[in-house]
């Protein structure tokens, strides 16, 4: 069903207008759920309208004006989503902020965005904001969702969400025209108005405020819905940071335009079991979620009984062979289909149920390259997992994989209404209705990213292959050359290694150097479970990482990658000559990863300069001392002697078939 005709009507060009329509058309359909006290609490679209209206009018009472900015800080909670639309109804602009950033990181964004209001989740966030309040002279009011622990706070600038709603309801009771006036205000909002400001997590430099208009979001969301035939019957789970464009589009823009239901998990730790209960039909996750899930399954299968393991292995082989062709609608023999059916009954079905994917219609992954083995595993089970390529500046969608044309190494064809071209430098450029208005108060960055004709530089290097699919190699500025002149694409090497379950994170170096060398982070779940089974004792991550047997294991993986690289003429020169295993996990709290868990290569290069030096001066070990930041902001230090291993490299050979990365 390609959406009811009402959904296709384009009169409603802003989210407040769409809210009014949804409350009318989908009045009794669920709009949002939150698991609370162990039970899923549901609000219908009509109820959501009532909640948002009360809050919005209350917000107005406390002085919120058109053009005001309201910061949104917290995990995915219905009330925080409502706050966004409530502010938009008054002509205001929500500014979602990464909730796990420390106060210092928040200051810049809140100052830059000039927020007058803030809607936050709980005491933790209130404390954070109060601690930096003296540096935010414009911030007047803080509204909080969870009242816990806040009773004895000074409430002159602090308000509970219900408190504001009560004000709104009182105003409605006192003046019968209040609702009319509020709706009249909504009628004045236009598609070209600013809808939201999202700060990019900033792999380099200060974060930039990406301004997106209602048109950007509404049109992109409608295109996305049509592309995957999403309608009001979808269920999704909202668990990714609200400050991230992906969540904004999936949990708000697409949810409003299609009218589907968004489910907010009970807490960050319960996402897995909550997902199993909801069984979303539309799901988005960065590759590491799928990797983590697969690792988790494999680890648990190691502990399963013999019969179960046999069944699992047998039917997984069947699925690997025929699962994808069946999913792609290709011709498959009757016998194979029968075997696959049986597998579905015995293995794939229960497995999908465990993962919460048994109703999945379409799933997406993006942000980083996903391991081909991992990608194929999910597709073989009959899950329609696809890749997309997107950016905040594009309101997500740049390219997507259409059903039936899924290739593991590409990110698909241009999304509806999107044009793509490749610059001479190899950089990918795009133009679409979703292209952002500009960076807030940063003309310079806007003009260097967006050309006068509306083309946007992605900063990624890639090419369009003969099937018309886009293939991304790496960040344009990261692609470099070794001294020998051969191409060095760090991410390409890193991803190859990361596809091994034992490897969690990799950082590759080599630009302008003699050869490629890498830092490896082991995956504590996978390697820890291996250690348990093999009676390897360890007291800490550090000890396990330095274990000779772990080194041997990683050595085998690196060797496999080198063989792989040798078989690809363009990449053969970049084989890994030396590697080491880091003594600590790379962590966003230490600034080594971005908040979206991407490696900040230049920062790491600076922080671990002695290690890099050791990588290239031939020494066998290196002593390092690293400062770490604990969750509460205090600092400590870790010291370690790290071993460095030399690797064998292979002659470039063409035509070798790639072995499975297992």
């Amino acid at each position: 069903m390609a959406g009811s005709p009402v959904v296709e009507r384009l009169d409603e060009d802003t989210f407040p207008k769409i809210l009014l329509r949804n409350a009318r058309v989908f009045a009794d359909r669920p709009s949002i759920r939150e698991k609370d006290l162990g039970i899923w609490q549901t609000w219908t679209w009509a109820e959501v309208l009532d909640e948002i209206r009360a809050f919005s009018i209350g917000l107005k009472q406390s002085g919120f004006k058109s053009g005001d900015k309201i910061a949104i800080v917290g995990a995915n909670r219905p009330r925080l989503y409502w706050t966004m639309v409530a502010a938009q109804a008054l002509g205001g602009v929500p500014v979602p902020v990464y909730a796990d950033s420390v106060a210092e990181e928040m200051v810049y964004v809140l100052q830059h965005a000039e927020v007058r209001f803030a809607a936050v989740e709980d005491q933790e966030q209130v404390d954070k904001l109060l601690s930096i309040a003296d540096r935010l002279p414009l911030l007047e009011h803080i509204v909080y969702d969870d009242t816990r622990g806040l009773r004895d706070y000074d409430h002159t600038r602090l308000h509970s969400f219900e408190g504001i709603q009560d004000e709104g309801r009182k105003a409605v009771a006192a003046d019968s025209g209040a609702i009319k006036a509020w709706e009249a205000g909504i009628a004045e909002t236009k598609g070209s108005d600013l809808a939201v400001m999202l700060y990019t997590s900033g792999t380099t430099g200060q974060p930039k405020g990406v301004m997106l208009s209602f048109d950007n979001l509404v049109i992109s969301a409608r295109n996305g819905n049509t592309f995957d035939k999403l309608d009001e019957h979808e269920e999704i789970i909202a668990y990714l940071p609200m400050a991230w464009i992906g969540d904004h589009v999936f949990s708000l823009a697409q949810a409003y335009t299609a009218g589907y239901c968004v489910n907010c998990p009970e807490s960050v730790e319960t996402v897995l079991s909550d997902r199993r209960e909801i069984a979303p039909t539309y799901f988005f996750a960065p590759p590491r979620v799928f990797e983590g899930l697969l690792t988790h399954i494999m680890v648990r299968m190691e502990d399963a009984g013999k019969l179960k393991r046999k069944l699992f292995d047998y039917f997984l082989d069947v699925a690997r062979e025929v699962g994808e062709p069946i999913l792609n609608g290709e011709q498959v023999s009757f016998g194979d289909r029968l075997k696959y059916r049986l597998g579905e009954l015995l293995v794939y079905g229960p497995l999908k149920n465990q993962m919460g994917f048994n109703r999945l219609k379409v799933g997406y992954t993006a942000g980083e390259a996903i391991g081909p083995e991992i990608f194929r595993f999910y597709r073989a089970l009959g899950l329609n997992l696809k890749q997309l390529y997107g950016q905040t500046e594009a309101s997500v969608y740049i390219t997507m994989q259409p059903d039936g044309q899924i290739f593991g190494d590409t990110v698909g064809t241009p999304a509806p209404d999107v044009e793509i071209k490749i610059a001479d430098s190899g950089e990918v450029l795009y133009r679409s209705p979703g292209v952002f208005v500009g960076y807030y108060k940063n003309e310079e960055a806007t003009s260097s990213t967006k050309t006068a004709e509306g083309w946007v530089h992605t900063g990624d290097a890639g090419f369009i292959d003969d099937r018309g699919h886009l293939k991304i190699i790496d960040r344009a500025k990261d692609v470099g050359k070794l001294q020998s002149g051969s191409l060095f694409a760090p991410k390409y090497i890193e991803n190859k290694l990361k596809f091994f379950p034992n490897v969690k994170e990799v950082v590759a170096f080599g630009d302008g150097r003699e050869f490629s060398g890498v830092f490896v982070n082991i995956d504590l779940t996978a390697v820890g479970s291996w250690a348990e089974r093999n009676n390897v004792n360890y007291a800490s991550y550090q000890e396990l990482a330095a274990h000779p047997q772990v080194y041997k294991m990683i050595e085998e993986h690196v060797d496999q990658v080198n063989r792989d690289l040798a078989s690809e003429p363009m990449m053969a020169g970049a084989q890994i000559k030396r590697f080491l295993i880091l003594h600590k996990e790379l962590d966003a709290d230490d600034g080594e990863l971005t908040r979206t868990q991407k490696v900040r290569r230049s920062f790491i290069a600076e922080r671990y300069a002695p290690l890099i030096e050791a990588l290239y001066d031939g020494s066998k070990t290196c002593h390092v001392r690293t400062e770490v930041t604990f969750e509460d902001g205090r600092k400590g230090a870790i010291e370690a002697n790290i071993q460095i291993r030399d690797m064998k490299t292979y002659e470039p050979v063409g035509g070798i078939t790639r072995e499975a990365a297992e």
Binding site: L37, G38, R77, D145, T147, G149, E269, S273, F630, D632
Partner: protein, 273 residues
């Protein structure tokens, strides 16, 4: 994660915040020839956090056992909510409104977090055995009500993720939290915590401190705790009583106790000769 915990009127009939909830007068306790507690007097006021500290073997846990009625002292009196206490059977003691946690975690290891906390409500279930066996009608209504209270506590202590996990599989810090949850499920007037932070890492300690303060503020629960981490004691408690070899050597606000020479001597030792 919305808070459902409304600020409740301070429980405990007729005793206002700040009044004496429990009074210990000249209490002595001995096991045969061993004198565990000698002539100790102090009080616990409604709504406060009272710490009991002292070196190893000072009689702190014995004191806690006297307070909750598990031991009956040979000498002295205990006045609980204005009434002098007589010797009680354990189940009578349990229904007095005093809940506790233990120095070594004492949970049902094979049961889930949820079931463990539900056991804390056992005394409050009023329906007969027969109804409970049927698990229908009034008994079911009652259980749903109790489950709701338990869910509030789960929400309060942020242990949703381990609701269905057998306690034996949980890390130590979380087990301690489950134990606190079970004690809270009794909706006690007085909560006794026997070394709530023992064996925890710094982060777990901070969490636990936060929860203890929140329990005190949100539920108005009076708390008496034994703890060895002096930083925690000084930050959390309103008043501290110090025991040494079964005797009371100091009593007062944290700053005062910290500066007391006897206390310093008891902890650091005095040079002899």
């Amino acid at each position: 994660m919305n808070a459902h915990v409304q600020p409740q009127p301070v429980p405990g009939s007729g005793i206002a915040r700040g009044d004496v909830l429990l009074q210990v007068d000249n209490v002595s306790l001995s096991f045969g020839g061993v004198k565990a507690i000698t002539n100790i007097s102090f009080d616990i006021r409604k709504g406060e956090i009272r710490a009991i500290i002292g070196p190893n073997g000072a009689g702190k846990t014995s004191m806690l056992n006297v307070i909750n009625g598990f031991y009956h002292p040979q000498e002295g009196t205990i006045t609980w909510r204005g009434e002098k206490r007589r010797k009680m059977k354990p189940y009578e003691a349990a229904s007095q409104g005093i809940a506790r946690t233990f120095q070594n975690v004492a949970l049902f290891r094979g049961m889930t977090t949820l079931d463990n906390i539900m056991t804390g409500r056992g005394l409050k279930m009023k329906k007969s055995f027969f109804w409970q066996c049927l698990h229908w009608g009034p008994a079911l209504t009652e259980e749903i009500e109790h489950r709701r209270r338990v869910e509030e506590i789960i929400d309060f202590l942020e242990i949703q993720a381990i609701r269905k996990t057998p306690v034996g599989r949980l890390p130590y810090g979380l087990q301690k939290r489950v134990e606190l949850a079970r004690a809270l499920a009794m909706e006690p007037d007085l909560l006794l915590l026997d070394e709530p932070m023992a064996g925890m890492n710094l982060e777990e300690k901070e969490d636990m401190s936060r929860f203890i303060l929140d329990v005190n503020q949100q539920f108005g629960t009076t708390i008496a705790l034994i703890e060895h981490d002096m930083g925690v004691v000084m930050d959390l408690s309103d008043r501290v009583v110090v025991l040494d070899y079964g005797r009371k050597i100091a009593d007062g606000p944290p700053e005062e106790v910290q500066a007391n020479q006897d206390v310093i001597d008891a902890y650091l030792g005095v040079p002899h000769g």
